[in-house]
């Protein structure tokens, strides 16, 4: 029994919207980072689903790459959050707003 491709796409879209919502509304940098991860995984689901659908493996291989990339991204992101906390005693992303005109 196979699940139709449209369900995967719906799941991925839902996850992506949740992530997007988090990015747009959350002020805590950690939540921010998590939301980004959710969006990445939404993309991964799409990749795997379509790879399965088309019957070739490159999509799945790309999903593996994306995970590795996400890990690296988390490392960098956490580093940024640490520095953020050290400088502002807070992890609220709206506080540091000096990088502008």
């Amino acid at each position: 029994m196979t699940v139709g491709i449209e369900y995967y796409v719906l799941l991925s879209a839902a996850l992506f919207c949740i992530g997007l919502f988090g990015v747009l509304t959350r002020r805590n940098a950690l939540m921010f980072l998590m939301s980004v991860e959710i969006m990445l995984n939404a993309a991964n689901i799409n990749l795997i689903a379509f790879a399965f659908y088309h019957g070739n493996l490159s999509g799945q291989v790309f999903a593996l790459f994306t995970m590795a990339l996400a890990a690296a991204e988390v490392a960098v992101g956490l580093g940024i959050i640490l520095v953020l906390y050290r400088n502002f005693r807070d992890v609220d992303v709206t506080v540091p707003s000096a990088m502008r005109w």
Partner: protein, 672 residues
């Protein structure tokens, strides 16, 4: 082959070394750097004489030394051209420079001047520029050193820069000559662009290119080849008129008397002013292609000769008289060249270098004698107290006035002879000839007025009664030049040679390349063939024409001298210039030439410049400022987008993405 010509660059580089040495070490050296200059110019003189001997031995040298810009169409290079003309000029320049350096020991050092290292350094640079100009084998190199000569004259005229008048005279000299040089520069560019080469000599010279363009009947920019050559020649002539102080750009030269007298000698005899006429002689083959350009040269020269001579008549300052005589004499050279008398013009250039250097150095000696007084009305009676100065000065004066057998007579007579034989064929040149002839009378008059007022009669001031003695370093240059002023004429006794049928016109053979082999395109006879000017003799006889021309010139010169003798060779001379009435004021004011030039500058150039400035300030700057303020205002609004809050950026990215997708959708027709 290591020959004499391998050392040719050293002729120019030695004075350059002297310049560096005097500038850097001058203060610590004995005589403040004078010896460096004397040694360097003496070395240049010896090398120049060697070049002269080598050229006389039958060799010419025309080699590029260094390419400094290589293009597809044209290559710019430094190079050396040594032919009979430049070899002769090298000797003249280095000799006069050497004598001026020696004389400076008496004129500058003995007077306890300050800034002597600067003086000697500038003299060295001046000599270097002129020698390099003479050596130049292409027009661009000539132009560069032409400019450098102008710069050095600026520096030296303004040597006493603490006075009020010297800096302004220096600026005037610089600006007026620069005005002419501007045309010269355009001419250089135009010649290079038209013919693709700037070399003076050789198969690929611009002269040859112009010749073949005329033969092939080519057209440039809508002009026939010959008209275009005339235009180019006249553009270059602009520089010549400025440098050689021809009407109407002569006004800088009398003011240039503000410099030390030694500098005047150098400027007038061998360097700055001579550069212009030398340039015409250097590219005479080019001018010979255009009868119109030659006629204009002749008329400018003839007019200047007369015009300047009349102004010299009323001057009271000994150096001013000499200044106007220089303008006048260079007018003769231009007249000579313009009527096709290449040899005559160069001959007069050479003789003039000697006797004018002599007269200026003599005037310098007089100024030392007179404790730095230059007004001739305060002199008088110096004849017995300074016999060496007197007799050498007299030799120079006789040469300047053109009294036989002094050198000036032979060359001036030849110029006038060349003018009259051309004028008899083409009557329009008779006008130029008669101006030149009339100037002979004035020359004789003002020259001897100067001699009588300075040396004869009774002393008219304390300084003249008790003159300051002059030393050997003053007398030696005077004697050398005095002998040359007397004897230099023997190199080309054309009238004697032609009448007696003797082969004694050495300078003519020299410039005709008869002593050298393999010289093409640079000889007198080739120039004459190119110019193709027909001549006619009075009563069909060369002898009669020679005698009449010579007698007229000599008679008028003597008449001028006799008038001066009657009026001024008395114990207590009085100014007779008042008798001239209104003309006197006009002459003393130099025909209001300065006023005219000031009016052109203030009445025409200034309003034009103001209008241009207004246009620039309002229209051009308005557009530029308008564009920038629109951009400034726009960006002032746009920058508010950048809040610095990460969330906003994320929102903008999302909104932008949605807008993009919607846009693509509408464009791609998804919603249809």
């Amino acid at each position: 082959m290591v020959g004499a010509f391998e050392f040719a660059p050293a002729i120019a580089l030695l004075p350059l070394a002297a310049f560096v040495v005097a500038l850097v070490f001058g203060n610590g050296m004995p005589k403040k750097g004078a010896y460096a200059g004397i040694l360097a110019t003496a070395g240049s003189l010896l090398l120049s004489l060697w070049m002269l001997a080598t050229v006389a031995g039958g060799e010419v040298y025309n080699e590029p030394l260094y390419d400094w810009a290589i293009g597809d169409e044209i290559t710019f290079h430094f190079g050396i051209l040594i032919d009979p003309l430049s070899a002769l000029m090298l000797v003249i320049v280095s000799l006069v420079a050497l004598l001026v350096h020696i004389f400076s020991l008496g004129y500058m050092n003995a007077e306890g001047e300050t800034g002597l290292p600067r003086y000697y350094a500038e003299l060295g640079l001046f000599t270097f520029s002129m020698l390099a100009f003479v050596l130049a084998d292409n027009l661009l190199m000539a132009f560069m050193f032409f400019e450098l000569v102008g710069l050095c004259s600026y520096l030296l005229i303004g040597f006493w820069f603490r006075t009020r008048s010297a800096p302004s005279a220096a600026k005037k000299a610089f600006l007026v000559t620069r005005f002419g040089d501007y045309f010269f520069l355009i001419g250089v560019v135009a010649i290079g662009a038209t013919f693709g080469t700037l070399t003076f000599a050789g198969d690929a010279s611009f002269v040859n290119e112009a010749q073949s363009a005329i033969d092939a009947g080519e057209t440039f920019h809508g002009f026939g080849a010959e008209t275009w050559v005339t235009i180019l020649g006249l553009l270059v002539l602009g520089g010549v008129i400025g440098k050689s102080a021809q009407f109407p750009l002569h006004t800088w030269l009398p003011d240039a008397m503000e410099g030390p007298t030694t500098v005047s000698a150098l400027i007038h005899a061998a360097t700055m002013v001579a550069a212009g006429v030398y340039l015409v002689a250097r590219m005479f083959g080019f001018y010979a292609l255009s009868p119109t350009a030659l006629a204009i040269i002749a008329f400018v020269g003839g007019f200047t000769a007369l015009f300047a001579a009349t102004m010299g008549v009323v001057k009271d300052d000994i150096k001013q008289v000499l200044a106007y005589s220089t303008i006048s004499q260079y007018g003769y050279m231009m007249l000579g060249l313009g009527v096709g008398g290449y040899v005559a013009g160069v001959f007069h250039l050479m003789n003039h270098a000697f006797f004018k250097a002599l007269l200026f150095l003599g005037a310098g000696a007089v100024i030392i004698l007179m404790h730095h007084e230059q007004d001739m009305w305060k002199m008088g009676g110096l004849k017995d107290k300074a016999p060496v100065t007197y007799y050498t000065f007299l030799a120079g004066a006789l040469a300047l006035a053109g009294i036989v057998p002094f050198s000036g007579f032979w060359s001036k007579d030849e110029i006038l002879y060349d003018a009259i034989i051309l004028g008899l064929e083409e009557p329009i040149f008779l006008v130029a000839y008669s101006m030149g002839l009339l100037a002979v009378f004035f020359t004789g008059f003002y020259t001897f007025r100067m001699v009588f007022l300075t040396f004869h009669g009774k002393p008219r001031s304390e300084a003249a009664r008790d003159p300051h003695p002059v030393g050997m370093n003053v007398k030696i240059p005077l004697i050398v030049l005095g002998v040359l002023a007397l004897l230099a004429g023997v190199v080309n006794l054309a009238p004697v040679g032609k009448i007696a049928g003797m082969d004694i016109m050495f300078l003519e053979y020299w410039l005709d390349g008869q002593y050298t082999e393999g010289m093409t395109g640079l000889t007198y006879s080739e120039y004459s063939d190119t110019a193709g000017l027909d001549t006619t003799y009075i009563a069909g006889s060369q002898t009669i024409t020679l005698l009449i021309a010579g007698a007229l010139a000599l008679g008028l010169a003597l008449a001028g001298a006799i008038v001066a003798h009657v009026l001024y060779n008395v114990p207590e001379p009085v100014p007779h210039t008042e008798n001239l009435g209104a003309a006197r004021e006009v002459l003393r004011s130099n025909y209001y030439q300065d006023e005219v030039q000031v009016w052109i500058a203030q009445g025409l150039a200034m309003p034009t410049a103001r209008m241009a400035d207004r246009f620039d300030q309002s229209v051009i700057d308005g557009v530029v400022n308008g564009v920038s303020s629109v951009s400034l205002f726009g960006s002032g609004g746009m920058k508010r987008l950048q809040t610095g809050v990460v969330t906003n950026y994320a929102a903008l990215i999302v909104l932008g993405f949605i807008a993009l997708v919607v846009g693509l959708g509408v464009y791609g027709g998804w919603f249809v």
